[in-house]
């Protein structure tokens, strides 16, 4: 049997090398020609605790999780119950485990999977400094008939730092694993589909890196931030690269500082960004309001995790929509955008940065842990030629008549950058008149509020406000990381279904959305949070039919396509 799509989970105690095994497998499969998506999960320990990787492979770009896993490689049973919810197994699933690790845990016994014990302990002893995870990798490789040559390159890339000895020992262990499975033949060996246009450029990239790349490409040259899971990798990736491009990153003392620091830098004329997660976003809100009121462009990437409060730092949830939309006091129109998947994170962050700069406002990019911390093999992303530049005032005003907040046709006023002679102004979060002078007069307030709203509403966002696929009277509306799973659910249902995956959440393109829903008979709003946040938001604009259905459930488990399908079928 030839296979073109399957999922593998690898679990193990701290130090068992489950994650490394997964990363090598992902890269090896990529070299063989496959696409893949790798998510990871870990126990509560800071470092060295049990961990798990979940990888889905496909001969086409794959950005959604599957309904169940075909293989589970359990390097041990250590705390496996912590992960079992994340590893649905089916009848045809194969669980490869260490026969020395004790009885099969109760949580797994219920599953109908086939259990394949392997005497790792004895095998490991045959190789000096050999490790069980590499033998396991060999077993898996042979099971799917992945040739050793594909593994070799990635082995060098991923273990390169550890030196030749480690690489040789690992190669030996992988080979041993491959022959062991051949001899055991206790579970079916499948052959991988071969295919792939060999000349197609592909990337190995995480969502956090993708956000960083989109920002850099759009011109971000200053970042200030305070570390927080699961956003830190954006910062770690950006820091040395900003420096190479003549910019830099400032580690702030807290998020109150980081948002104000980027406002300062942007006031100085440099496109600026911060990245954070829920708790940090909460602290930044007053600063976000300041950037909106003073019309200073900044980008805030929020990689959301389980909330509220400290919540579940390491796992995903789409529950920060409300704070992103409504967190600010006062009438504070701004931009909220959400990448749909890892590949889209490059474009959406690029777009968000360009919009913030053009519209002189705040763009919140709502990413999440599922996108941010997953690694995917994707086709090279080519960013469209979207506009990214800020309108600046270059004319001198010796008569001192420069109006920083002048009411213009498109409501955007050219911004003077410090260093420009005879174009001075003082930016202010206090309500102000068109010159920027503080004012509490009703006319100034009404005028400036309208200006800040108008510039967002008058702008033409083009067609990229959503990714719309398919057509039909059944419409599935979703956003962010759930989009990939909803897409797959629609595919599974094999009906005429339209999927609207929203990229631009604020300002909501109400007219365009209503138009897309015109011929709909059944509308579903699908999202990963308990509070039906998107559903209520869309309803608040009366953009949904009154009988629209809401499918909303909290994280941290990803919405699985089968679960979406089941819900939809129930309503039919």
């Amino acid at each position: 049997m030839s296979i073109s799509s399957f999922s593998i989970a690898i679990t193990g105690a701290g130090g068992s090398g489950a994650v490394t095994t997964g990363l090598i497998l992902l890269e090896s499969m990529a070299h063989y020609g496959f696409y893949g998506l790798l998510n990871r999960s870990s126990g509560p320990q800071i470092r060295g605790g049990e961990s798990a990787v979940f990888i889905r492979f496909d001969d086409q770009e794959v950005l959604s999780v599957n309904n169940h896993f075909d293989y589970l490689l359990a390097l041990d049973w250590f705390n496996i119950e912590r992960f079992i919810d994340e590893i649905p197994l089916g009848q045809s699933s194969v669980v490869i485990y260490d026969s020395n690790a004790g009885a099969i845990p109760e949580v797994l016994q219920k599953s109908q999977a086939q259990f394949m014990p392997i005497d790792f302990k004895t095998l490991v002893k045959t190789i000096h400094k050999g490790r069980a995870n590499m033998i396991g990798l060999g077993l898996l490789a042979n099971t799917i008939s992945l040739p050793f040559a594909s593994i070799e390159t990635s082995l060098n890339k991923i273990l390169g730092r550890k030196g030749a000895e480690v690489i040789n020992t690992s190669a030996q262990a992988i080979r041993l694993g491959m022959t062991t499975q051949q001899e055991a033949v206790s579970w079916p060996v499948r052959s991988l589909a071969t295919h792939i246009e060999a000349n197609k450029a592909r990337w190995s990239i995480t969502g956090n890196e993708a956000c960083g790349l989109g920002a850099l490409k759009a011109g971000v040259r200053f970042v200030a931030a305070y570390p927080i899971t699961p956003a830190t990798e954006i910062l770690e990736w950006l820091s040395p690269r900003l420096e190479k491009l003549g910019g830099g990153l400032l580690q702030a003392e807290d998020e109150l500082a980081s948002i104000n620091m980027i406002i300062g830098a942007s006031f100085g004329g440099v496109a600026s960004l911060t990245a954070t997660s829920g708790p940090g976003l909460s602290l930044m809100l007053e600063g976000i309001g300041l950037a909106i009121a003073s019309e200073t462009p900044v980008v805030v990437v929020n990689v959301s995790r389980g909330g509220p409060s400290t919540g579940i730092p390491t796992k995903s949830e789409q529950s920060d929509l409300n704070i992103a939309l409504y967190g600010c006091h006062g009438d504070a129109p701004h931009l909220v955008l959400a990448p749909l998947n890892i590949a889209d994170a490059v474009n959406t962050t690029f777009w968000a940065t360009g919009l913030a700069e053009q519209l002189q406002t705040v763009a919140i990019v709502l990413c999440d842990q599922f996108i941010g911390q997953s690694r995917a093999i994707i086709d090279q992303v080519v960013v469209p030629q979207w506009e990214t530049s800020r309108v600046t005032e270059k004319k001198e005003h010796p008569q001192n008549d420069y109006q920083r907040y002048k009411i213009t046709e498109n409501a955007v006023s050219p911004m003077s950058i410090p260093g420009t002679p005879n174009c001075l102004f003082t930016a202010d979060g206090l309500e102000h008149n068109s010159k920027g002078t503080p004012s509490s007069m009703s006319q100034d307030h009404i005028e400036q509020l309208k200006k800040r709203q108008d510039k967002l509403l008058k702008f033409d966002y083009g067609t990229q406000w959503a990714k719309i696929s398919g057509s039909g009277t059944m419409v599935l509306i979703t956003w962010g990381s759930s989009s990939a799973m909803v897409q797959e659910a629609a595919h599974t249902l094999k009906q005429d279904i339209k999927v609207i995956a929203l990229r631009l959440l604020m300002p909501l393109p109400v007219e365009a959305l209503v138009k897309e829903l015109r011929n709909s008979k059944k509308v579903f709003v699908i999202e990963q949070n308990q509070g039906q946040q998107l559903f209520h938001y869309l309803h608040s604009y009366q953009s949904l039919p009154v009988d629209a259905h809401s499918f909303a459930r909290s994280g941290p488990l990803p919405l699985r396509p089968a679960e979406i399908v089941a819900f939809i079928k129930e309503q039919l």
């Binding site: 491009l245 620091m261 300062g264 600026s272 005879n422 174009c423």
Partner: protein, 274 residues
């Protein structure tokens, strides 16, 4: 000496909202004098503040200014200076703004020692919110919010600046604008974080501060680069002594701008290729 740019030229046409007799007027005059003395081009000044009566000052100076939010002036200024090292960055605010809500930024701005001037117009009260105790208020000062006084020992700005790593620490008095002006010139000429606490009476909510005129005295005629001596000076003083308490050449933080290799975005993107 005739100056091409006169002090008056640094004053904007906006009329201050301050009460008549407020100490902050003199800070404004001293600052514009200092700017004129140094002939700093107006368009090369980034003047940042938080919220409070004192924090209104940027709009009254002809420069690029940003009147931000309460307590965050130093953070905003640090971002501006990091991104635009060519600008002369000045930060100003009150004792509530800088030592209470912005206390953490004060510590870290001292520690970072970026090249900027920070003026705190200390009136030992929250003026803008109409008379509550600030971190520098005496413990027994009675007001509506704390009718028994705050019962807390006052915060020691100079000591905290010293302990946190500021490289220029001084105290001035708004009642002696020419001395203050000189102090501000020295502070701006100093490379690194220059912290100047200015005793600036609140006429309205602390009328008794008119007596400061009699109490203020020149205490630190010469600066020192010895932190132990500086600490002794601070602890031995009654809080009314003026002058440069401490000045030292310490590493100044800035983004490592000059070390960048010649890389372009395409090279960065190529890292992702399989």
């Amino acid at each position: 000496m005739t100056l091409p740019i006169k002090p008056k030229a640094y004053k904007s046409e906006i009329k201050p909202v301050w009460c008549p007799g407020c100490g902050h007027f003199s800070v404004l005059s001293a600052l514009t004098k200092a700017l004129a003395y140094l002939q700093i081009p107006k368009h090369k000044i980034g003047f940042i503040s938080g919220i409070g009566c004192s924090s209104r000052i940027p709009a009254y100076v002809n420069s690029y200014g940003f009147h931000g939010i309460h307590g965050r002036g130093l953070a905003m200024a640090s971002g501006l200076k990091a991104a635009r090292p060519d600008l002369h960055v000045i930060v100003a605010g009150g004792d509530g703004d800088g030592f209470s809500i912005g206390g953490n930024h004060f510590i870290h701005a001292c520690r970072r020692n970026m090249d900027m001037l920070y003026i705190v117009m200390d009136n030992q009260v929250y003026g803008m919110t109409k008379g509550q105790a600030s971190p520098t208020t005496d413990p027994d000062w009675v007001n509506k919010l704390t009718p028994h006084g705050s019962q807390l020992r006052p915060f020691e700005p100079l000591g905290i600046a010293l302990a946190s790593g500021a490289s220029f620490i001084a105290r001035g008095f708004s009642g002696d604008p020419s001395a203050m002006s000189k102090l501000l010139v020295e502070a701006m000429e100093h490379p690194g974080f220059s912290f100047v606490q200015v005793l600036s009476p609140c006429k309205t909510f602390r009328p008794e501060q008119v007596q400061w005129k009699q109490q203020v005295h020149t205490a630190f005629a010469e600066s020192t680069d010895d932190p132990i001596l500086a600490a002794q000076r601070i602890h031995g003083d009654d809080g009314m002594g003026t002058g440069i308490v401490y000045q030292n050449q310490l590493p100044v933080w800035s983004l490592p701008h000059d070390t960048h290799e010649d890389t372009d975005i395409d090279a960065i993107e190529a890292e992702f290729l399989l």
